[in-house]
Symmetry: C3
Subunit: 195 residues, 3 copies
Amino acid sequence: MAPKAPKAPKSPIPNHFFFLLLILSAFSAAAASGKLRSRRPCRRLVFYFHDILYNGKNAANATAAIVGAPAWGNTTVLTGMNHFGDVVVFDDPITVDNNLHGTPVGRAQGFYIYDKKEIFTAWLGFSFVFNSTEHRGSLNFAGADPLMNKTRDVSVIGGTGDFFMARGIATLSTDSFEGEVYFRLRADIKLFECW
Amino acid sequence: MAPKAPKAPKSPIPNHFFFLLLILSAFSAAAASGKLRSRRPCRRLVFYFHDILYNGKNAANATAAIVGAPAWGNTTVLTGMNHFGDVVVFDDPITVDNNLHGTPVGRAQGFYIYDKKEIFTAWLGFSFVFNSTEHRGSLNFAGADPLMNKTRDVSVIGGTGDFFMARGIATLSTDSFEGEVYFRLRADIKLFECW
Amino acid sequence: MAPKAPKAPKSPIPNHFFFLLLILSAFSAAAASGKLRSRRPCRRLVFYFHDILYNGKNAANATAAIVGAPAWGNTTVLTGMNHFGDVVVFDDPITVDNNLHGTPVGRAQGFYIYDKKEIFTAWLGFSFVFNSTEHRGSLNFAGADPLMNKTRDVSVIGGTGDFFMARGIATLSTDSFEGEVYFRLRADIKLFECW
């Protein structure tokens, strides 16, 4: 018997279903490659942390100390050539405002290494360890800190507790400093992965 | 010819298609902002690693050494004030059980820095480098390690080989220690991004 | 009136809609657990960076310096036992080809720690800080570097600016070296999260 008309066979699944599946795959692929990702933070937090560097005379209230230095330096005084090679360990109080004597909500713990002879720049690896009624857990950071820039971005590379699996950007700015002993950093933390 | 009734024109794409697209977008947005993400690990691994710190007498079997110290310390003996400022490099065997002499499946390589004067805490940056029939590749870790807590979480910040692009949390616990020379850590690794 | 046939009631939403929702959920869950993720890079970049280690005589053009060493070493000369324990800070020029004197497109800044007594291996924490017409921003890296392997993978743990939220793998290879003072690394950067 010859076919009556060039009509597609009646299928229980409508044709546009396949078209939708195609779009679905495209969306998923886009999500995987990041094309659909939002640049609006899913969480934003601002904190200050306060670094008091040991200089041979302030053992009682220092929160940081030089623990490595190049051949031409030492661990008591910051080295010349923009401190190139100085490794500093810190345990700085974190506050919600810019007052050093405000109630700390946690500690900024880790290290920085001055890494350029010509200007001040550093490499940072540290955590915010929270211990307040509002926040429990930690945020981990890493990245280059070109200190002389008004703002500089480091990566939020992970988090635990309230910040489980967090990723994002922290914009650091030097809020204040006194000589080479005290400086206060403002951290504007923008998370783009929140879980 | 006048239209017979206020009926929508017959479109080749059914109306509910647009409704589905809407839902699709919502799902994608939710995925991007993390709301749908599962807190069930996509992979879980438990290992032990064994740290034998050089103390001036155990050069032969030490797996770790002090390589930085504050002005008031040195690189042979751990410094007072809870070792604040001591930088330790390690290359520790990884085993699947808590036996130091078990067959290593890889090496835990990296560093920790004691970073608090009042209690023992450290900042960790290290990798598990696997070299066994079961696992090839590496897992990279970073985070704060408040040693005195029974368990503490650090971030899995990446991976290579079998652990390509991994992210997650490693829960560390001190499984055993002998004075300040030997300690054994248990790492309960939970990956939440597996690729 | 008895029903004429066991026919489902006519619904304004077709049945296959629910089937599609089911698939949609499955796709989203798969995306969350990583099963659908592509191993094709969303971005690929190749650079070279050049490390000239200070050795007591080359202060003028050194780009790196030893800043930590074990008890049996010092910060002027690399230590025996495969440099185990040497901490090196660097600020190396990045070029697009393998010519040390090519126009730098940025700086590779950070540190490495030799971490094994038996062979050369190191742990790396560093950033590529770009400052060219083509790229602005930074890429942050961490991971184990078994130097003697022809290629070795470290993790791209984050990025800023043009590399906002990047994640991926950088395959490092030693492109050239001269004694223990100069070495040139090739970095084949493959990003799998691009935003």
